[in-house]
């Protein structure tokens, strides 16, 4: 099994850390993982993206031209990456502010209303975990247990009181994702 994933959105949405948690969860399950960020000026206020690969085998290129799954959290990312999903692959997008939804019919498109839901429920800080929950509902490449272990390891101890809120967000995201 190999899942090649692109996660893209605005800087500050937690795109890079979502990818990092996913990669770390893969590590917790003893899988091969690679996390490759777009670093540089785009990180500072513009669009941010990272490629995450989770596999049972040795990983080849950290840089890809097509993806099994694209998780796209704003219109510019959707416009840029829709065409790069492999036929039969998965596209998940947050519906907030999307004027041009995906049009491809040879891939599976899902929307997730995470941004608005997070704002309504006062869960802005765990928005990215909500999206991750949506993804894991569709592609359980790692277990929720592994994600929680990864959060436990990567969050500084003073923030461990936030672990239940993160788990709640993941579960909420699993409910929110729609085909």
């Amino acid at each position: 099994m190999t899942q090649e994933i692109i996660i893209a959105g605005f800087g500050g949405q937690g795109v890079l850390s979502m990818g990092k948690i996913l990669a770390y969860a893969g590590l917790m399950e003893d899988k091969e993982v690679t996390w490759m960020p777009a670093y540089g000026p785009e990180q500072r206020g513009g669009t941010a993206n990272c490629t995450v690969i989770v596999s049972d085998e040795r990983i080849s290129s950290p840089v890809l031209s097509t993806y099994d799954t694209a998780i796209l959290l704003n219109q510019p990312s959707l416009t840029k990456f829709e065409s790069m999903v492999k036929p039969g692959g998965t596209l998940i997008y947050d519906s907030f502010g999307i004027l041009q939804p995906p049009t491809r019919t040879d891939i599976h498109c899902y929307s997730i209303n995470a941004m608005e839901t997070a704002a309504e429920l006062g869960m802005n800080k765990t928005f990215n975990m909500m999206v991750l929950g949506g993804y894991l509902k569709l592609h359980p490449v790692v277990s929720i247990d592994a994600v929680m272990k990864a959060l436990h390891k990567t969050l500084p101890e003073r923030h461990h009181n936030l672990l239940p809120a993160n788990e709640q967000a993941i579960l909420k995201g699993m409910e929110l994702v729609k085909g």
Partner: protein, 373 residues
């Protein structure tokens, strides 16, 4: 600290590996895309645990000259920078080659020329493998292709540096430096004691007012007596020959995607790719794409880019109908491939410039065009 499996960036792995292999001193100046090396060292504060010195210098020129001083005392010292900073260090590296001082220098390459871009590149291949500074010297250069190799090559480089009394370079790039992968960090090894350094480095400036030493050890690269200096240069050249004879490292991936164990004469392939570092990782994906189309492509990845695996590339050329050299530059290592192949089969180059990383699909397209010619 015990052996540990972690998820981290290549740059972070360099820093952790340095501390754990008993490095005595790191001297550096921040520059994207390698600033995490210095940042990580500052965060883990090895001066409180192993006693390792970590110093942010006023410039790269200061850093390389501190390496000259530290290495001259037989200590394990290292620096890291990116392209432009490494260009500034060339005078110091040449002095160290001339004074036969061991040290490790990490280049996490970005695009040039000049101030260029902060995005990844492999355009410092010539600078790294052709000496870089003035004079007849060479520097062993290791090219990591994974976060694991970033960690492993620190110790490996120190071994080479002290075995041959030479600066050693780790030639990485922004892809390998910035990406995170699973990495096994080695167990903490103690730094060498002063007594161990004196015993292992009889040439070093370790103090001479001792019963066992009658004369000063002089660490210098200057000699104004041509006859004597020619002898010294010949001695250096003999050392470089010894390195060429003994330290060539490479990896060969078969068209099936497996690591070839043993003889290159067993390779069954239509074409071959030769690529190092991150370009070799991208090329591994290209091999898979080719395999799906029934095209058999082998990959030779030089792990040492100096000394270069000329003999292995030559043998590989006899097993295939053409070689594509994939580099993130305008065509530098391809000259070494051509030297090895000597016109036996067509050799082409594919690369991107300006900080753009070639993706597997475009490399495969170049390979397909070559095949259908």
């Amino acid at each position: 600290m015990k052996k540990e499996t972690v998820l981290m960036k290549g740059n972070e792995a360099i820093a952790h590996a340095a501390v754990r292999c008993g490095c005595d001193g790191y001297f550096g100046y921040p520059i994207t895309p390698q600033s995490e090396v210095l940042e990580t060292l500052a965060a883990i504060k090895p001066w409180e645990t192993t006693g390792m010195v970590v110093l942010q210098c006023e410039s790269e020129i200061a850093a390389i000259n501190m390496l000259y001083g530290g290495g001259g005392t037989g200590k394990r010292v290292m620096t890291s920078s990116s392209s432009i900073g490494i260009a500034l260090m060339q005078e110091g590296i040449s002095y160290m080659a001339g004074a036969e001082i061991p040290a490790v220098i990490v280049n996490v390459q970005r695009g040039g020329p000049g101030l260029g871009t902060i995005q990844p590149s492999q355009a410092d291949y010539f600078q790294a493998t052709r000496g870089g500074g003035n004079g007849d010297y060479e520097t062993p250069v290791l090219a990591p292709a994974s976060v694991q190799e970033m960690a492993d090559m620190v110790e490996e480089s120190f071994q080479l540096a002290f075995k041959y009394r030479t600066p050693v370079m780790i030639l990485s790039d922004g892809v390998i430096g910035q990406m995170m992968e699973k990495c096994v960090l080695p167990e903490q090894r103690p730094r060498r004691t002063n007594e161990e350094v004196i015993a292992e480095c009889p040439w070093a400036a370790t103090g001479w007012r001792r019963a066992d030493r009658k004369e000063r050890n002089v660490i210098t690269s200057v000699d104004l007596d041509p006859a004597r200096f020619e002898q010294f240069n010949l001695k250096l050249q003999a050392k470089y020959k010894e390195i060429r004879d003994n330290e060539v490292r490479y990896e060969l991936i078969t068209p099936e995607g497996a690591e070839l164990q043993g003889d290159i004469n067993k390779v069954e392939a239509d074409l071959a790719i030769v690529a190092f570092g991150s370009a070799a990782r991208i090329s591994q994906k290209v091999i898979q794409l080719a395999k799906e189309d029934g095209l058999r492509v082998a990959l030779l990845r030089p792990i040492t880019v100096w000394p270069y695996p000329y003999e292995q590339v030559k043998l590989l050329a006899e097993r295939v109908q053409g070689i594509l050299c994939v580099e993130i530059n305008a065509g530098q290592m391809v000259t070494d491939v051509q030297l090895a192949v000597q016109g036996r089969v067509p050799v082409e180059h594919y690369g991107r410039l300006g900080g753009i990383i070639p993706d597997p699909a475009e490399v495969y397209e170049a390979l397909r065009k070559m095949w259908h010619k």
